[in-house]
Amino acid sequence: MYVAQLTLPERRAALALACLVAGLGLTMAVLGRDDLLGTHGALVIACGVVVAIVVMRGFYAPSPSPERLSSYYDDPTRAGIVFAMIWAIVAMAVGDWVAWLLVSPDLTFDAAWSSFGRLRPVHTSGVIFGFGGNALIATSFYVVQRTSRARLPDQVSPWFVLLGFNLFCILAASGYLMGITQSKEYAEPEWYADIWLVIVWVAYFGLYLRTLARRKEPHIYVSNWYYLAFILVVAVLHIVNNLAVPVSLGHAKSYSAFAGVQDAMTEWWYGHNAVAFFLTSGFLGMMYYFMPKRAGRPIFSYRLSIISFWGITFMYMWAGSHHLHYTALPQWVQTLGMTFSLMLLVPSWASATNALLTLNGAWHKVRDDATLRFMMTAAVFYGLTTFEGSFMAIRPVNSLSHYTDWTIGHVHAGALGWVALITFGSLYSIVPSLWGKRAMYSPRLVEVHYWLAIAGTLVYVISMWNSGIVQGLMWRTYNDSGTLAYSFVDSLVAMHPYYVMRAVGGLLFLIGTVVGAYNIWRTMRTPALAEIGDFAEAPARAAPTLAAAE
């Protein structure tokens, strides 16, 4: 049905691109026939062929009516939301699985693919890129059109970006299971997947700029600054950190262009800014649009938005070295990382404050509307997590927290409490109108999801705080003889109850996600509204706010 919206030249372009991708896959399969690269080649062929078939089946459908140009192009957003929810369920399930694996390490059934080292990146990449990335792409298309009062410039490039990005995610996740990895945290995919992502990302950047260039608003809305920062900086980070030389064009394996401590520093410059620009900047973009929209309140302060935007953008860049305190990294680099991390707290809290004060005058809605409450809670967690992050960046604090579960707790306060909650809030606020429905299938289930998510996050984070601090203290406690009081295994034994608790917390969160996905799916399937009433987010189709193209 999506193909019918494409014009004939667009269908031709889509078909050509799909064939091109299949051709690339064929090249990989031939060059890498003696290597795992060949397996990935076959996978790429399959993806290209599937898309080609879908396009071909709709190829001779009647041309779309020119009316489409007077409304926003939301098909890729719809597909992106579906992808995001699929990735969320899969990747969170894998996350809970590895949590149980830490409780009882024998759960691997003696297979290589099910070992912790292979499953963990499936979880991390799956939630960050699969769930978070798809949600960001989907909402960014939605937001940029509405805040620019301009339709996406064409109907092929958004699909290229969305499907290309998902191809990258599939290559990543399937590669880990086969043992393909660069061994760089959050940058595990190998060189060919990395190159593909560069192409996709440049197309994304271009698409975003082209849409902004068509805008009919005199000013560019805050959300778009954040989305743009996310797209641009992630491109830079990704390219630099993944500079590598493949063993040969027929091998999946490559070697980093950096060595030793430079490699570590590049990796954490990347890693921390991935947190900054992927997991913060992009989702702030989401928040700045969906929160005021849902609350029906103006942004508390335009000036505060500016200060926090530039503060975050400038200061995050320096903070990565706090991941390498007390290592071979020269101390002066650690000093810079620590001090900038501390200064970073101010713009971070300014953003959180700006969000929460925006709700002034709408707190009764927060009480009644779980969707808005998702977003409010996300802002609170954003504030808590950034405070914790700056705190943990202080060297003496870090000497306790580093390498412990406290870090894991911190990450999940951000990932579950901030990233996932703001995403669910945003999705709940646009899913009904995107599918032409008055409201979500079941507001009660949104409420259930909210409480499951909150309970899961709190159980998770609190158990990891405890675990991390106990662990950190055990590692540094001396006995009267002046030797360490506890062995490493002692600390593992002490972790066990917390690991059980964490896995339960994760399970609660996962169940919430499944409930959410079910609710979204039922919303999509309820009969469409003939007439759209007066509710907050009127569908673009029914209410063409878009002035005729120039």
Partner: protein, 291 residues
Amino acid sequence: MAVEERDPHSGYLTTGHEWNGIKELNTPVPRPVYLFLALTALFAVVYWVLMPAWPVGRTYTKGLLGMDQRTSVTSELKQAALERSAWMKRIETEALPAIQADAGLMQRVRETGRTLFADNCAACHGREARGGPGFPDLTTSSWLWGGDPETIAETIRVGVNSAHKDSRVSQMPAFGRDKMLEPRQIEDVITYVRSLSSQPRSAPAAQVESGRDLFAANCAACHGDDAKGIGAGAPNLTDSFWLYGGDVESLRRTLTQGRQGHMPTWEARLTEAERKLLALYIVDLRRKEQP
């Protein structure tokens, strides 16, 4: 066209723009934001002055406090070693029996030995040193190489079948695979071996007899005429402790495929005092097991 309007709730003016219904207030930045920006920046500047901070060409600003993580960790380690040295020195220099006689020193051995063992040895020998299939239980009276502290310390130093040039070497030959014994003979010898540790036997006496002869001819050289081991790696087969298992199935595997355990050498990884301490710790464990 920017049209300013006043937000009735907060009383602030908007910026006059609107994006799909979203407006922004022109609220001034709250004072505390500037205050905290100034405070954190001030802290950063002070910290930069005191600590190693900014790169300058090929070097960097060293900071007024002259701190350096390398020198501080080295001196901390030295200090800690100094604090330990009072009793560590005694472990290093005094004779084993003398240490064993000193209750205070043995208390230190227990404290430190526990973590040293758990961090280095527990992966194979288990947290309680009770061993597991293929890894000897170190709390029993049954020893492959000898259970006095000197011998144990030597086993730890050189390892068994390890890369060390003086490594202890041992191997249980693969009688079945290498066709030194017929399958039938293997069954006989298994029956005999099981009879030694008085395990339930339903086998005919003739089979035990045949096994006894086979044992004398093939096994006694390593395991000893009485099968009690000769302290050279081949275990005592008459007791209730088994390295690989005393059931028929395990014995069949042992005899068919042979066995060769690997115990790493610790000479390069632990100091002499630490190895001595571990040997004492292990001996002490056994004392605790059998009061």
